[in-house]
């Protein structure tokens, strides 16, 4: 099941012919710390096909979150290229990068990152405000997103009135509301008990199947990754150590892509 990752292997996609949602080409991200340089991501190449559910695994400090931030357009690589929709994110202007985050990707975080003073509905509506979607259209879009995560009846509650699982579902609804092509999830189960964590991943899996969305998830919980992801990519010391198809989930990915 596991295989070492050579640069050429890394860039190959399971299906080969499908346009990758994201293509990472020799990407490095170095941080200066005093006089030394930390290589958080070191010469990583990876192709993520459209519709895939990829799990990025690795221990703390392995560079998986940094790589996710680079793919999500929150950070810029020191070198290399990240291609998405035919554009190199490394070369986009700050405004174009903001548009990419707004229209192409959705993000889910470990600590949910909901705004505490806003109701659930208002939190989900926030990306629509940023995207300048008309007020009349927003209510329908918010309802639709909340229905996806089965929270349509708790719209008026504030985050503090929700359980951890419900908060994460709200965060997923917020990530989905702008109908992104790619969903990035950074340790989405990190703050949840195992049962709730599994339920959240099952929800992500369901969304991926229904909407044909590409999902990239950072996690250190291997058993969850193996249970839900189509492919596992393992990182260590900033390098991509291996990528491997998850046999139990590959068929579902093929079915998802074929369904598109």
């Amino acid at each position: 099941m596991h295989a070492s990752a050579s640069p050429t292997d890394q860039a190959a996609t399971p299906q080969g012919t499908i346009q990758p949602a994201i293509q990472i080409d020799h990407v490095s991200r170095h941080y200066a710390m005093g006089e030394s340089s930390i290589r958080a991501v070191d010469d990583v190449s990876l192709a993520i096909p459209t519709g895939e559910f990829l799990a990025l695994l690795g221990s703390s400090g392995s560079g998986k979150s940094t790589l996710l931030n680079l793919m999500a357009g929150l950070d810029r690589p020191t070198s290399g290229a990240i291609l998405s929709g035919g554009r190199n994110l490394a070369e986009l202007s700050p405004l174009e990068l903001a548009r990419y985050r707004r229209n192409t990707v959705g993000m889910v975080f470990q600590s949910f990152n909901l705004l505490p003073r806003m109701t659930l509905e208002e939190n989900v509506e926030l990306p629509l405000r940023l995207a300048e979607v008309e007020r009349s259209e927003r209510a329908g879009r918010v309802r639709e997103a909340l229905e996806h995560v089965r929270l349509a009846k708790r719209t008026g509650h504030r985050p503090s009135e929700l359980s951890g699982g419900e908060q994460q579902r709200t965060a997923i609804a917020r990530a989905l509301v702008n109908r992104p092509k790619i969903l990035f999830a950074d340790e989405p189960t990190g703050n949840l008990d195992s049962a709730t964590g599994e339920a959240i991943l099952a929800l992500l899996r369901e969304i991926q199947s229904k909407m044909g969305m590409t999902i990239v998830m950072v996690t250190h919980e291997r058993h969850l990754a193996e249970k839900f992801a189509n492919r596992l990519a393992v990182m260590g010391d900033g390098k991509l150590l291996s990528t491997s198809a998850n046999a139990s989930q590959v068929s579902s990915h093929v079915a998802t892509v074929a369904g598109q």
Partner: protein, 448 residues
């Protein structure tokens, strides 16, 4: 993000730290209030002074004398100004000619003479002055004891307080009482002594008496024009004063100069009142063209305006100091907000907010605080002005003086103060807003 969404979000953010933001807004309000209170006092005092002076007739009046009359201001020293052979007498014809000039409201002579008054059988020496009807509008009669003359030719008198106290320390008791004015009536010699006397321009004086009823007591004589001597202590209607034909100081001088060849009395001076101070210049020129000397206090009015402009500027600067301190409060509040909302800024950026969106959000928050502070400050400033007026009027009332409005908040001050508060707040928001916009989203999201 659209402006109304941005504003809604900004107001929501401000409500979140309601105490701190309210205190910051209150700081702006106090700053604006001090500015508004200061300027409203400046404007109010200027309006008070202008209206008093305008009512007094000093700035819409032109003082006219005959060119031969060297007593008039602006006529220059006698040695440098020989009497013009074409000099026109300032007589009744001249008066009616001046009355017909455009923009002239009224033309009246300065009638003032020393005389004796008998009250309760005792004699009192005083100066009598004729008051034109227009002096009723003069602020000097505001809050007087009793009332103004019932008609233009009523045999009534208004006493100046100090003179009234000489008659009776209980000045209120004087109103409604009669006094006798003893004066010297000027009679032409022509009717009695023939042509020779007429040619000399001489006249005789005949003692006469006039009974007058006291109708009011006034603090000071209104400045009814200028160029007179002394201040009138007993005021009578101008029409009555004219019918008395009382001998005045200039009569004797005119006889000696032979400048009044007819039996028609020439006026020592005439006050010409125009519709507004802006018309003084043009009318003054026309009067000079008619062959008279004319003088106005327009230059003094200009100096007054310059003085008040500088006064307002200084008040504005002092008032702005509080607003400057309040501005620092805005900077402090927003910088604190950035620290507290660092993670939120990261979330906004992760959700697709551009640097400009974050900058605008903080900008709008600063603007909302400035706008709210501005509106509240104007209200507070107006209240301070009203309180000062109220307190001043209590003091004036205790001094038995008429009330005044010492503060004024015109619309330009309201708009200007709110606009200024908004502008200053936006400037104060510049640094925090750009600092928030520059936050790295990854660092911001990591912030606990």
């Amino acid at each position: 993000m659209k402006l109304h969404d941005m504003t809604e979000l900004a107001v929501r953010n401000l409500r979140e730290a309601i105490l701190r933001n309210s205190l910051t807004t209150l700081g702006v309000a106090v700053g604006v209030a001090s500015l508004v209170a200061m300027l409203s006092l400046g404007v109010g005092l200027q309006q008070l002074a202008s209206s008093r002076l305008s009512k007094s007739g000093l700035f819409d009046s032109i003082f006219v004398t005959a060119k031969t009359n060297l007593r008039g201001p602006g006529a220059g020293p006698p040695a440098t100004r020989p009497a013009s052979p074409k000099a026109r007498p300032l007589d009744e014809n001249a008066r009616s000619e001046l009355t017909k000039l455009p923009d002239v409201i009224e033309v009246y002579p300065q009638i003032r003479f020393f005389t004796e008054v008998r009250f309760d059988g005792k004699p009192f020496a005083t100066v009598v002055a004729g008051m034109p009807e227009s002096s009723r509008q003069s602020g000097s009669f505001d809050g007087m004891q009793g009332g103004f003359f019932s008609s233009t030719n009523a045999d009534e008198a208004i006493l100046q307080t100090e003179f009234a106290k000489e008659l009776n320390p209980q000045t209120r008791d004087l109103i409604g009482k009669d006094l006798v004015l003893r004066y010297a009536e000027r009679q032409s010699l022509a009717s009695e002594s023939g042509a020779a006397a007429q040619n000399s321009g001489g006249f005789s004086v005949v003692p006469k008496e006039k009974h007058l009823r006291i109708v009011g007591i006034v603090e000071t004589e209104p400045a009814s024009g200028f160029g007179g001597f002394g201040s009138g202590r007993l005021l009578i209607p101008l029409t009555v004063a004219e019918t008395l034909r009382a001998a005045q100081v200039n009569d004797l001088r005119d006889v000696l100069r032979g400048s009044s060849p007819s039996d028609k009395p020439a006026y020592a001076s005439l006050s010409v009142r125009v519709k507004s101070p802006s018309l003084v210049d043009g009318t003054e020129k026309k009067i000079k063209d008619l062959g008279f000397s004319a003088f106005s206090l327009l230059d003094a009015s200009k100096s007054l305006r310059i003085f008040f402009s500088v006064f307002d500027l200084l008040l504005g600067i002092f008032g702005s100091l509080a607003l400057a301190v309040a501005t620092l409060g805005i900077v402090n509040t927003l910088v604190m907000a950035i620290l507290e909302r660092r993670r939120e800024i990261g979330v906004l950026k992760a959700l697709g907010a551009a640097d400009g969106d974050v900058k605008q959000l903080f900008f709008v928050e600063a603007g909302v605080m400035g706008l709210a502070g501005g509106v509240f400050g104007v209200l507070l400033g107006w209240l301070i002005g009203q309180s000062l007026t109220f307190a001043t009027n209590i003091y004036l009332k205790r001094q038995e003086l008429p009330g005044v409005q010492i503060s004024s908040v015109p619309w330009w001050l309201i708009a200007g103060a709110i606009g200024f508060a908004l502008l200053v707040s936006l400037i104060a928001g510049l640094y925090p807003a750009s600092r928030a916009a520059k936050l790295n989203p990854v660092d911001a999201l990591r912030y606990e």
